[in-house]
């Protein structure tokens, strides 16, 4: 049984169809990439999955449970977290506070209004682990607003990861990251624990083909092709709409 499924998902904004009949199945533990040309509706799908948008038709099922009508924060509690294409961080907080906050929320300490954040060892232990995993230890006391872009991107993923998701939705994690900081970011993504299912939206084909074990192609709001990376790369229809010849030859 897939860990995450969409059934006939559709989103209209007035007369514009941003997503139609998207039926997608993400297997447990998969590294699933969602690709497609600009405006194909990839971010719309992520927004529907995470609950930022409500679909006009269709259903979303997470681990056998229908979550279509749930609020974003409820979906997080059920085990699905996302990152954003454009950083959505708490600029006035430090990375340490940011991650501490997310961990405290998940452990149910978010309603604690009396004891300071750092007084729970369960929280601090986990914060330490995440800070190390995402290479943020050297900047953890800086204000998030002044971090280098690559570090902000890492924090963007670390923050979603701190929710301990079973399914992690990554919306163009490498977008805009300068070459010098890229390697660290890609290595961190590659090292995500195997038990976490990842659905990745990405433009960067190097990243997609090195990372994904399954690829879905979205065109004009609809699912176009779905399959293993080799099949997708060879599919002449995909070639026509999206991929360059050069890339296919490389694979």
């Amino acid at each position: 049984m897939p860990i995450l499924e969409t059934i006939g998902l559709e989103k209209r904004f007035g007369g514009i169809i941003a997503a139609q009949d998207v039926t997608l199945a993400v297997e447990k533990g998969a590294r699933h990439a969602l690709i497609g040309p600009n405006g194909a509706g990839k971010t719309t799908v992520i927004n529907l999955l995470s609950g930022v948008l409500k679909p006009t038709a269709g259903r979303i099922v997470l681990e056998g449970r229908d979550i279509t009508s749930l609020e974003p924060h409820e979906r997080v509690r059920l085990g699905m977290a996302r990152t954003f294409q454009i950083n959505q961080l708490f600029l006035d907080l430090t990375p340490l506070e940011t991650i501490g906050l997310a961990v405290a929320e998940r452990l149910g300490a978010g309603v604690d209004w009396w004891r300071p954040v750092g007084s729970r060892s369960a929280v601090t232990d986990e914060v330490v682990e995440i800070v190390e995993r995402f290479h943020l230890a050297d900047v953890m006391h800086e204000r998030t607003a002044i971090l280098p872009y690559g570090k902000q991107r890492l924090l963007e993923i670390a923050l979603a990861f701190a929710c301990r998701p079973h399914v992690l939705l990554l919306d163009e994690p490498a977008a805009g990251v300068p070459e010098a900081e890229r390697h660290e970011l890609l290595a961190t993504i590659a090292a995500l624990p195997a038990e976490v299912t990842v659905l990745l939206i990405e433009h960067d084909m190097d990243l997609v083909f090195s990372f994904a074990d399954r690829i879905s192609v979205l065109v004009n709001g609809g699912l176009f092709v779905d399959g293993a990376p080799e099949e997708v790369a060879r599919d002449p229809r995909v070639k026509a709409v999206y991929l360059g010849e050069e890339l296919v030859e490389r694979i």
Binding site: V52, E71, R82, D92, L96, P116, V117
Partner: protein, 347 residues
Amino acid sequence: MAPLADDVAGYLKRRARWSAVEIAFWVFAFATIWLLPSKHLILTETAILALFALSLDLILGYAGIISLGQAAFFGVAGYFSGLVAKYGIINEPVVALLCSGLVAAALGFVTSFLVLRGSDLTRLMVTLGISLMLGELANRYSNITGGADGLQGVTIAPIFGKFQFDLYGHTGYVYCLTVLFICFVIARRIVYSPFGLSLRAVKGNALRGDAIGIPVKWRLVAMYTVSAGFAGIAGALLTQTTAFCSLDVLSLNRSADLLLVLIIGGTGYLYGGLIGAVIYKFMQDWISTMTPQYWQFWIGLILVVIVLVGRERIGAWNEGVRAALARLVAHLVARPAVLGSAAPDRN
């Protein structure tokens, strides 16, 4: 691993630790009980205003909710504490104070749902509208509130049956300052707790707050309720120390002045309301002895200057001063481990 763990835990705790500047602030505040006995009446007003401004800082500085209707909670609790004293329903002032706070908090909870949605402007209008309605209700039901003449015949029993309120305001001042301090300690615990941190995060980015599992709506409701309770306690203190309550507790002026006080003091570091109240009250006292009728001219001028200096972040206009002060203290006391916490909350 271990040093990093200590660093993390230490840092997350350290921010909540009391710094030398804060301790000095409160020692001085309590010292005024003996140092400035002739000023106790104005100091009482200042302490009440400070608590009222603290209540606004909790929602404006920490939750990003702007309000022009904080007087609603102040006034309702003010009338409530006056009425229970007048009719002998609750005689002991501290119990009456707590009940007044709860009444205001209940009103805050109910009205919080109206201010949750919408932009700053809608929030301003909704909060303003609620306090206007309450003001007019108090005017209409003058058989209960005394209307324009105010609530007459209120007598406040001694605190704990022991400490009688006196004409010079000595008891009243000690009482108000103590209540202010207790409320401040509670507010301080709140803002440094995970709950408070989640609110700061939501204020900065509600979209992401939702996306990491924070029930944004309920957090805002909770903070708005607490803030209303604090405002109510301030209103009840005013009634109890003056044995009187009139329509102006619900006036727009009171809410507008409050915003001014908080902006003078700066938002989002808890002391803004307190410092703002001291500056505001003493300027009022000082300028009005020189130009009794026109003192608000100078307050207006100061407001314009502050807004021009602070630009977009008017509540943070004195951030530079605060940071410089913290550095100075750190330099003087040279105990770096503890003094990390002397830096005022940057937000």
